[in-house]
């Protein structure tokens, strides 16, 4: 499983692996918003938590369709299923690798982009905390969606339609943590919900994704 995790990291940073694509996309989305809205600091500060979270969601989505599709096309997925690894472990290792190359860099880059949207220092701290707690859920929910659509030609659009609604709870509580954190309000409840969604997704979805893969490979 470690070998699979390391292989996926290596593939991601090699040419054409897609590392940095999500980050660049995130950067562009966040830069475009002030250009569209105008330089009103009060308005930007108000929408910053939502924009930063929606941007992270979309950037995460960008690389999801490659998660299983590439392994399916070159036959690796068949071989992984017959390998002495639990398929649930394969899903978890691949989702973890996806998080390390997208979710983690997004989390680290977000406060820098927050400056562009007039997000205060208090908000920036909670932005990092909420993304660190929430992005693992984005990767593992995405892995489930990618497992459902593996083998579908041009499945990327279908994948987005399946996965984005499942991202809604994470988005609501994640953005709420930042909004309340920036405004100096109490945010414990939202933070707990965000963590609970992530833990629940991590516990359950690898099993669901493995079941979906088994059906799709028949």
């Amino acid at each position: 499983m470690t070998a699979l995790f390391l292989r996926d990291l290596r593939l991601a940073v090699r040419a054409g692996g897609g590392f940095g694509l999500g980050l660049a996309f995130y950067l562009l989305v966040v830069v475009l918003v002030p250009l569209a809205i105008g330089p009103d600091a009060a308005v930007l500060a108000r929408i910053a938590p939502g924009v930063l979270w929606v941007g992270a969601l979309l950037a995460c989505l960008l690389s999801l369709d490659r998660l299983f599709a590439l392994d399916f096309e070159d036959g690796s997925l068949d071989l992984l299923v017959t390998a002495p690894l639990p398929l649930e472990g394969v899903v978890a290792a691949k989702a973890l690798a996806h998080w390390v190359v997208t979710g983690l860099p997004l989390t680290l880059m977000a406060p820098v982009l927050g400056v562009m949207l007039q997000l205060g220092a208090g908000g920036a701290v909670w932005l990092v905390v909420s993304l660190a707690l929430g992005t693992p859920a984005l990767s593992v929910i995405g892995a489930f969606g990618a497992a459902l659509t593996v083998g579908v030609r041009r499945g990327g659009l279908l994948l987005s339609l399946l996965v984005l609604p499942m991202y809604v709870p994470t988005l609501i509580f994640g953005a709420e943590v930042v909004r309340r954190g920036a405004a100096g309000l109490e945010f414990g409840g939202a933070l707990v919900f965000l963590a609970a969604i992530t833990l629940g997704a991590l516990a359950l979805l690898p099993y669901a994704a493995a079941a979906a893969l088994r059906v799709n490979l028949r």
């Binding site: 699979l4 292989r7 692996g17 070159d74 036959g75 071989l79 390998a83 002495p84 028949r218």
Partner: protein, 210 residues
């Protein structure tokens, strides 16, 4: 170590394509599956590998004994030859890839990116992977496609070594494998028996009311 298949049925896309297949394969034996395109050779191999459920019958073999090699080689273009093999070796707990590289004549290519290999070299890499799985039963789907004469010889030598070491192999192929005399199983004899037109339905009705 024995692979016993009894009265096996295989389905593809919900349609039964083969039924009543039975054979027994012991250590040191190979079986070549023959039959025209579309008869179900790949489907049978995938069923043996556990990638799809059988529609009937039974497959008996030790757990995790079978290594499958399909049409696609499972090779990552951006990794080198050695990295590809080392990955599959690590997955199967075999960390020495030297013998596998040597068996398929890949030593000179070990640091080449797999994306730059020719189709035949890529196939050789896919076949070398079998050695790092450490599994006794090989299920091979058209293993010699894209291989030149010398490489077919390498493959035959590797397979002979595997059989001599107590392994077994089921091979779907319609080209010469250079193996010498090998038992063959023609799958054309296992096509599903179709009920006579109209007759089966009438019979079912009669049966229901007697």
């Amino acid at each position: 170590m024995e692979l016993v298949v009894t009265d096996l049925g295989c389905a593809r896309g919900g349609r039964v394509v083969l039924q009543g297949i039975g054979f027994r394969l012991s250590a040191g034996q190979a079986l070549v599956l023959r039959g025209p395109n579309g008869v179900g050779k790949t489907t049978l191999l995938r069923t043996l590998a556990g990638l799809q459920p059988a529609s009937g019958g039974a497959i008996s073999m030790p757990p995790e004994a079978l290594a499958y090699a399909g049409h696609a080689d499972g090779v990552k273009s951006t990794l080198s030859v050695a990295e590809n093999l080392a990955f599959w070796g690590a997955v199967h707990g075999m960390h020495d890839i030297g013998p596998a590289l040597a068996a398929m004549g890949l030593q000179g290519l070990r640091d080449r990116r797999a994306g730059q290999l020719s189709a035949g070299q890529r196939r050789r890499l896919g076949l070398a992977r079998l050695l790092v799985t450490g599994r006794p039963i090989w299920a091979l789907d058209e293993p010699t496609v894209a291989l030149d004469k010398a490489s077919v010889g390498l493959f035959a030598a590797m397979l002979h070594g595997h059989l001599a070491a107590g392994g077994a192999a089921v091979i779907a192929s319609h080209t010469g494998l250079g193996l010498g005399p090998t038992p063959e199983l023609d799958l054309i004899g296992f096509l599903p028996r179709r009920p006579p037109r109209g007759g089966a339905f009438d019979g079912a009705f009669d049966g229901a009311f007697t």
